[in-house]
Symmetry: C2
Subunit: 596 residues, 2 copies
């Protein structure tokens, strides 16, 4: 054990156990029972027992004798700050040596080897021990909780986990706190159970603690027709759709609110490893990546230090349920993820699996265990994540580069701000804004829009020396998405109007967003309209959408949607460099033309 590990262990040993959170359990969760078949488990492991008790099919009749795959080296992709062509394995791949071969035989040929028969047979709902052990170790290294008795539990991916978490904590008629723009499938999970979203603002720097506290403090059960929500659902890093990442101060403040107002934080964090740092500066950690005197271990440790953020690190009480997934780091088709929570929640979640999903797919568990745990190991896994961060980070840059060029945006030099909680200097990303100069009828006022950007979207400051603001966005520091605001208030048909709370203004605003969307689609550029991500479930503004006309998509309005500004979510994960740049050039042209 090196000094670092020893320090970690010593810190962990001094922690308290989670406090009792059983009052948060739903009736459903409390009523779950363990399967009576479980009581056999202790006899099953006696190799001398001859069992007529189980209901297992005979493994001789599973028609697969070996399962194998050709797999990538963990160092195939260049880390952030390294030119792709210079990565060691990129060269190896040119020489055709970049692939490994993994194989899992039905019956292990070597001691301790994985056996396909176990992946094909019924297994424990908690999944393979080798995977839980690895993920427990990983959690200790990457996002160590601030209490002692946390547990890691495998699941069938984040959507499965969140579904079980809503059942674990919510009763019919409850509200669940969500960011004002959020991942729509999360809303759909609670909806049929009678669990309604209660939105709280998110801005360029994540969830706004002051706004959240105002909401909770002023909560009136009668007015809201529900008790004060006891669950917060949040995507803290590279949030979907806004791309924003919460900082340490805000995270600490939100956790303090969770303690004060006794709510559970459900941290859904798929983009954790894709945390590139702000656009326009040398990527954090790149000096270490470039330093040839540093070992891979040192580089791995530096990587964890850079991106190791999580509510778990604030969690002294066991009131955070963190949801992780292999979907963005291995492959989503695997349907494999894990939760980290207090042991009481973990036990109830396990019971839920026993009578629904039973266990994650056995062959998938084998493939991931063989590749990540046995072939790559912890060091290889971290190296793989460094490469992914580099790859998605470069994609982020392609997109932002083209937006900056296409709208002729001046990128300001970022300022370091010293964190009050950690004492570290943090570079704060700033919102970039695009203007049209040739606005004929508007007088320039000489305001400096940059002064307002730290307070988030500067709605209303439409006329500056730079011209008329038509588009703005914060370059994402993490994730897969850029959330582009279209300043409709400055479009010819709405400019100068002050009746933005009127129905006609709202209708016209929607029509304008549809018009741009269709113009983009005509150029074969497909973007995600912002209305889809409204936390209040407002579903309007989509062109030609079946769900618009169905009665189930009726909304009760959305207090967080400002009709003066529309949004598009642009994903930079999918397209390769050349088509991505060309697509962005076309995007900029369409938007510029729209404001002519």
């Amino acid at each position: 054990m090196d000094t670092h590990s020893a320090a970690l262990e010593s810190h962990a040993a001094s922690l308290e156990n989670a406090v009792d959170m059983s009052h948060h359990l739903s009736t459903l969760a409390k009523e779950r029972r363990s399967s009576p078949l479980k009581s056999f488990a202790k006899y099953m492991f006696d190799p001398t027992v001859r069992s007529l008790a189980g209901g297992l099919p005979n493994e001789a009749y599973f028609p697969f004798e070996t399962l194998s795959a050709t797999t990538m080296h963990p160092d195939i992709y260049a880390p952030m700050g390294i030119e792709p062509g210079k990565a060691k394995s990129w060269l190896a791949s040119l020489l055709g040596k970049s692939l490994d071969f993994i194989e899992v035989p039905k019956y292990a040929k070597k001691q301790g080897g994985l056996q396909l028969k176990n992946g094909l047979q019924y297994g424990a709902a908690s999944g393979f021990q080798i995977l839980s052990d690895f993920l427990t170790e990983w959690t200790k290294l990457a996002v160590p909780p601030a209490y002692a008795n946390w547990e890691v539990l495998l699941c069938d991916g984040s959507t499965d986990a969140f579904h079980k978490v809503v059942e674990l904590l919510c009763e019919k008629g409850d509200g669940i706190l969500v960011e004002s723009s959020t991942y729509p499938s999360a809303l759909e999970t609670g909806w049929p159970m009678g669990v309604r979203p209660v939105t709280t603002p998110i801005d360029d720097y994540g969830l706004v603690p002051e706004a959240l506290e105002a909401l909770l403090k002023g909560w009136c059960d009668e007015e809201r027709k529900m008790r004060r929500p006891r669950v917060l659902y949040t995507v803290p890093i590279g949030q979907n759709p806004t791309g924003s990442t919460i900082n340490d101060e805000r995270r600490a403040a939100v956790y303090a609110l969770a303690v004060k107002y006794d709510f559970i934080i459900v941290e859904d964090d798929p983009y954790w490893a894709l945390n590139f740092g702000p656009y326009g500066i040398s990527p954090p950690g790149s000096e270490i990546e470039k330093d040839k005197s540093k070992s891979e271990e040192e580089k791995n440790k530096a990587f964890l230090g850079l991106i190791g953020k999580s509510y778990l690190k604030n969690d002294t009480q066991g009131r955070v349920i963190r949801i992780d997934t292999f979907s963005k780091t291995i492959a989503p088709g695997c349907r494999l993820g894990w939760t980290t929570s207090n042991p009481q929640f973990a036990e109830r979640l396990l019971r839920a699996s026993e009578t629904s999903t039973q266990q994650p797919s056995g062959p998938v568990q084998l493939l991931v265990a063989e590749l990540v745990v046995l072939n790559w190991g912890m060091g290889g896994w971290i190296r793989w994540l460094r490469g992914l961060r580099g790859e998605y980070g470069r994609r982020r840059n392609w997109m932002i580069d083209e937006l900056v060029k296409g709208f002729d945006i001046k990128v300001p030099k970022l300022q370091a701000i010293t964190s009050a909680s950690t004492g570290e200097d943090q570079m704060m990303p700033v919102r970039l804004e695009a203007f049209v100069k040739q606005a004929p009828s508007i007088t320039s006022t000489g305001d400096n829009a940059w002064n307002e950007k730290m307070a988030g979207l500067s709605i209303g400051s439409t006329k500056t020396s730079k011209g008329i603001k038509i588009l703005s966005f914060i370059p994402p520091s993490a994730g897969m998405f850029c959330w582009v605001a279209i300043h409709l208030e400055n479009h010819g048909s709405l400019r100068g109007r002050s009746d933005f709370s009127s129905v006609s203004y709202q209708e016209e605003s929607k029509e304008l967003m549809q018009k741009i969307w269709v113009s983009l689609a005509d150029k074969k550029v497909l973007v995600a309209p912002g209305w889809m991500f409204s936390g209040d479930g407002l579903r309007t503004g989509a062109p030609d959408d079946d769900s618009l006309t169905s009665s189930s998509s009726k909304s009760n309005g959305d207090e967080n949607v400002d009709p003066r500004v529309g949004h598009f979510r642009l994903a930079f994960a999918t397209l390769e460099e050349t088509p991505m740049r060309q697509t962005m050039i076309d995007f900029c042209k369409v938007v510029n033309k729209f404001f002519e």
Copy 2:
């Protein structure tokens, strides 16, 4: 298309659509909404579109380049009635030629080939089209429904499907009809949702329609404190735990009750293909299997004719939800199965998947599609099932042979009974009974217990010319289990007592069952105690079981449990021939000794 297929198509064309069953949908099911992201699907398939809209990770970063497996030939196992040594591929296996190699590359090399990238990426909740198409074709051949617009839908295995079905149909406070002895995990699914089991008798020939009708006819909401159940959960073939298989008459009668009393039949049928026919006769279909002049196609067709039973074939209205699984035919670790139901139910089940499991594991779907659909094909798949039926059928015989020998049971010659509904002759299995001759204090009465066996378990007829009845069972015609009744009433400590409704009798009966169980465990023979399968959730009689002492396992009593008879469920699926026979010899010795 051959004549047979043409006849099937022509029959199918004359069928009506399902009647409206929407009044059976739960509030939860009605409230489910489709995901707004779905509305993009139509644009996604345009190859010229450049999408910035999706949230998919880049497939270049999935670290698997090919997925492969060595797999078995579909004809590796001998069908029922053929000696294993004589099967063609068994010889091939000696020559080392019995395995195939399947491989799925990330990007297909040939037109129409499966692509690993699709199995690793997010996919439709309905699963791979190639699998649904195959299973639709299979349903048409094997268990064609009696209405036109049925749909097949993939799921994450039977447990997942049943969980979604309970959510689809049941409200809190509802009852669900279950067989008096049933699969315990099914009960645990509804329990936390406030859905309680309502038991209806099952005997040696399956669910008893007369008893079910009496229950429904005499139903009093106030007395029962719930409305009349609108869902029946049944395992019709090789039922777990009783091993009993319903016959055509009873199935038709139960379906008629479903129409009359407007309930939905949930047919959970994992043992469908393992339908061997009665013990002690030449296996049905073996004359065709042995006939060298018959082609494989003819043998496949004969097999489907023999075992093609399902409530779907009675289902003129669309009130059956059939649950199938690959767990017993491929491997349970796959977590892959399918439901067949009316389109309205299928659509709501799909919505449920979208916000929970999302989709069955992609790599597993690929492996099963590549092996079963592309490598084996429909003919190979049916041949594989013929082999499995043979293998499990031989295992059934090993177990029953040893029970017959160990208790010196006389096996009567079976009688053919002509089915009133199909006009076919059916061999009716009969209950076998074991006696101890050396009962010292009981006078033989000369009754012939055999006369009573067709009416099921002949409780009370304890003294015969054969001695004292200690054990009885019906040799299972299907599945994996033999349900052995232990006639405790004839044990020395209870013999002659008539106070079997008293608490002390019940306690003593429980203790006796525990005593045998422990004696068996001491000999390293592990069997499943019958109390675990009580449909009323009565959980007593288990030795050293944690769940016994927990408050959640408290029962409100079980009207179907007779304290004069205990049960053990013996599984014949797992052990190989030599250990199986030795284990059964030990089982018989322990039980015989117990009654000495």
